[in-house]
Symmetry: C2
Subunit: 238 residues, 2 copies
Amino acid sequence: MAIEERGDSAGRNLTFGMLEVLGRAIVTGAYETERFPTEAELAVEHMVSRSVTREAVKMLTAKGLLTARPRKGTTVQPSSSWNLFDTDVLRWLLERKFSLELLRQFSELRIAIEPEAAALAAREADAAAVAEIRSGYERMEAAEATGQDTLEADIGFHVAVLNASANPFYMQFRDVVATALRTSIRFTNRFKGRTASLPAHHRVLAAIEAGDGGAARTAMAAIIADVMAMIEDSERAG
Amino acid sequence: MAIEERGDSAGRNLTFGMLEVLGRAIVTGAYETERFPTEAELAVEHMVSRSVTREAVKMLTAKGLLTARPRKGTTVQPSSSWNLFDTDVLRWLLERKFSLELLRQFSELRIAIEPEAAALAAREADAAAVAEIRSGYERMEAAEATGQDTLEADIGFHVAVLNASANPFYMQFRDVVATALRTSIRFTNRFKGRTASLPAHHRVLAAIEAGDGGAARTAMAAIIADVMAMIEDSERAG
DNA sequence: TCACTCGAAATTATAGGACTAATGGAGCGG
DNA sequence: CCGCTCCATTAGTCCTATAATTTCGAGTGA
């Protein structure tokens, strides 16, 4: 199959297109049973030059999905060495191999990150960062009223809190959280009428504005715990 | 400068060698004032073919350090889009641009991750994972006695706890924590006679063996808080 | 029979040339 | 002054040739 023929978005150029195709194939387990093709085979199969093939393979290598050795060929790495905090890898996983278990594991991570980020934000955030959080909250209020834009508003709020932590390691989770929330909407949408709790989010905002780290941590923890409870209910329900 | 002439380890091949050289140069800010060279210039400058150059650039693109567009050239991305949880990127940062601030920010992340990982480990760890943690602790005891191997034993303990969480997102921090601890030894070594507290680590082990998540969380939090206090003391001292 | 060496084959790694495509800017025409 | 066209620049793509690396097996000698 030629890459240009794929119906969905193939990326800016042939290399990025091939990156998407191969990345998705790898995370969905297409090469768990059969060996990964050689450069030459990939080039023929996807109707691109060896240069394009090699560059795509190198990018996947950089993300931890592949290794290449002369004579041995190119092989898929065990999933334990994939970089899950690479937004491409995470997106492939969530879009193509979504599972409640994966969503629960990701939410377990949020339990660690976001309350602590909120606490940091309460201590460290400057006026602009706090304004971003407030603006995110107000957008959620507006979305609540109209029923539109709820997901993006929710994402905006959580991203604003991460940004306000003034710590690059926490800020790193921006894209990760945004990607995960956006792709899991198919799941959360099943719960009609269940939107993110405005009062809970307001408690986070108020605590950060007051500079109260402990209260911000507690309030954010409550939000994520709520998400977590919903997921665990679903897991029990099957 | 030809890559083969570099004194330090250049990686398995020319492409990986160039990846290291360019990656280090970028994170240390070598291109903050001057524009990033074009493919052709890089190839000439490093005396490699355009193929090698392009593959190295593609790997750096995959890690979020570069973007390339026709006519515009290859440009360095703002550090906010670098993937800090890529072990290469983190290693370049810590080895070449070490600062107390960076170490403190990283420790702030550990405050979020490791206590929660310990709590998960207490709930989820199987016998083999617990055995790994115990073995890590015993290695620390032995290291304490001989004064050798203390750093690697400490790393082993913390990595074993992350592994025991049975959550791939927490396990992802294995290499990151290992890299950070290993490269910050130059700093921690300045505190002669100050080794990781054995009793504190034993409390973590005992809580996990007892399946007591709350106690494991508290005990691990104490360990990281101790590290954090040391860093903040140093920051005040200058 | 066993171990050891050495050669051949497979596959990635490297080099380099030719051409294409995209894009930004200069210059030209209205 | 505006807008269009054309040109220069740079990454993107394709191709071919050769080198380097490593596995596997054939052969060889004890």
